[in-house]
């Protein structure tokens, strides 16, 4: 365990300044949403958070695993004796856990600064969590499939675009929880979407991990 923690610390050190991107972005967004945003439009704040925060979950996942698929000399990685199952699951769980803490900070601001009711904030936290895992899973899976960091980011952005503006697509009908202006989140209205998002997230992570287990070296053309 001690070694694994050290590994994760070194992973983040290796990412350098890019590891701070989700932290800085969420901090700025939370500051904007809680301090500067017009208090008369609370549901717009929720919509903004819900659309912009979860896609960031894919950032750390992609940055952590890209060295296996793109880095010069990644060949050496494949000759090491580590357990891919432990490394993949452990890394993914750690970064998703860290991201869950970040979103919790945003929700705490909603509770204490925006003065939203506790029950609503709790439900909203569930929405943020499941959607974050969904995007994290997409990032991990796409990276393992196409083995290209930039294209993976592009595809995550495309999914985000579909979710925000493609209101009539099947994806958004089953997975996107849009907070309606003037309405409080009711669990009975959103639980199907929460569960389906969660199921999709688990499937994405499972498939990505499976692919990571079998990932072999591929020479660049």
């Amino acid at each position: 365990m001690k070694r694994f923690i050290r590994l994760i610390i070194l992973d983040f050190k290796g990412m350098s300044v890019t590891s701070f991107v989700p932290v800085v972005f969420i901090a700025l967004l939370t500051l904007y949403g809680s301090v500067m945003f017009d208090p008369w439009q609370p549901f717009l704040v929720l919509n903004m958070y819900q659309q912009l925060i979860p896609p960031l979950a894919s950032w750390w996942v992609i940055m952590l695993f890209y060295s296996f698929v793109e880095d010069e000399g990644a060949e050496a990685f494949f000759s090491y004796g580590f357990s891919r199952k432990v490394l993949g699951t452990g890394r993914a769980a750690t970064v998703m856990g860290a991201f869950s803490v970040l979103t919790l900070i945003t929700c705490t601001a909603l509770l204490f600064v925006n003065k939203y009711p506790m029950a609503d904030v709790m439900k909203f936290y569930l929405v943020l969590l499941t959607q974050s895992w969904y995007y994290g899973g997409i990032g991990f899976l796409v990276l393992m499939m196409i083995r290209n960091m930039l294209w993976t980011f592009a595809i995550v952005m495309m999914v985000l675009y579909i979710n925000i503006w493609g209101g009539l697509t099947e994806i958004s009908r089953y997975l996107v929880i849009t907070v309606e202006i003037g309405k409080s989140l009711e669990l009975k209205d959103i639980w199907i979407k929460l569960v389906s998002t969660l199921v999709f997230s688990i499937v994405f992570f499972y498939l990505a991990q499976k692919r990571f287990n079998k990932l072999t070296f591929r020479a660049k053309k």
Binding site: L10, K13, G14, E75, F82, T216
Partner: protein, 282 residues
């Protein structure tokens, strides 16, 4: 280590064609032109590429047991450029954890840092190191955990003469305690470092033996002719390996299976000329 009847195809291209090399120990060189199949062979031995058929055996351990093999090998690929943002110490610690090295990873890292002579750069970021130093870091990550087999793919290409010499000494030192499989296309590296060598050409093994055995093969097929300027345009059924102008007369050395002309004199081949002979005449 024994490599027996190894085959590998990329689509229709046969990268390895029934490659057999027996009794690999000490420092064993792999030499051949670009595309000869050296890197493919290295990658298969390093377990990062799957073979189509054939087998590799080391002390009773076969390469089908990938997990066990990975515990006894160290691999330095042709291009090694990871961990730009980490310090040398941290980068090696990361590798030590990934390699599941027993004992304290920090102590192990310190040992290999000293061995590759990077102690004064232990706290420097990898991104700030010179090409030679990065290559030494590459060797350090490969020998972490004291592997029994070290696989190094063209480690000396692109290094300046001093770094190259230092690197060769290091490989020689390592060859005393582990089996080193070392590929190169620089012939001098063989004489300086390798105990035995395998010459590869178009995916096939042309010869496995010592440098002297390589020279023996070419002996009797190397000729020297002194030509006037007018005769330098003449065509011969061989490959010219050297041509020097000595006071208007051109001393020409040539690899040729038969005496190219009456004036030709048989001479002792160099290792480089033997290599040319093996690739093109054998």
């Amino acid at each position: 280590m024994d490599i027996i009847g190894l085959n590998k195809k990329y689509g229709k291209l046969k990268a390895l064609d029934n490659v057999t090399i027996n009794g690999i120990k000490g420092v064993h060189g792999l030499v051949g032109e670009n595309g000869a199949g050296k890197t493919t062979l290295m990658r298969i031995v390093a377990t990062i590429l799957e073979k189509d058929s054939g087998s590799i055996v080391y002390n009773g351990l076969t390469w089908e047991e990938v997990g066990k093999v990975r515990n006894i090998i160290g691999y330095l690929p042709q291009k090694f450029g990871m961990y730009h943002q980490l310090t040398v110490k941290d980068a090696l610690e990361h590798v030590a954890i990934l390699k599941k090295i027993k004992g304290n990873p920090e102590d192990e890292c310190r040992k290999v840092i000293n061995l590759v002579n990077l102690s004064d750069k232990a706290d420097a970021k990898v991104g700030t190191l010179s090409g030679g130093m990065v290559r030494r870091l590459g060797i350090a990550q490969a020998i972490l955990g004291n592997p029994e087999i070290l696989i190094v793919d063209e480690p000396t290409s692109g290094l300046d003469p001093e770094e190259r010499m230092r690197f060769k000494l290091l490989l020689k030192k390592l060859g005393d305690r582990m089996t080193v499989l070392f590929s190169t296309h620089i012939i001098d590296d063989i004489t300086d470092v390798c105990d035995r060598v395998t010459v590869m050409h178009k995916g096939k093994v042309v010869l496995t033996g010592t440098a002297d055995e390589m020279i023996d093969k070419a002996r009797g097929n190397l000729w020297e002719i002194y030509l006037t300027e007018e005769r330098t345009g003449e065509e011969y059924d061989g490959i010219i390996t050297d041509c020097r102008n000595i006071d208007g007369i051109f001393r020409t050395r040539m690899v040729c299976c038969k005496k190219p002309c009456e004036a030709a004199v048989q001479v002792e081949p160099t290792l480089e000329e033997s290599y040319i002979y093996l690739l093109h005449m054998e």
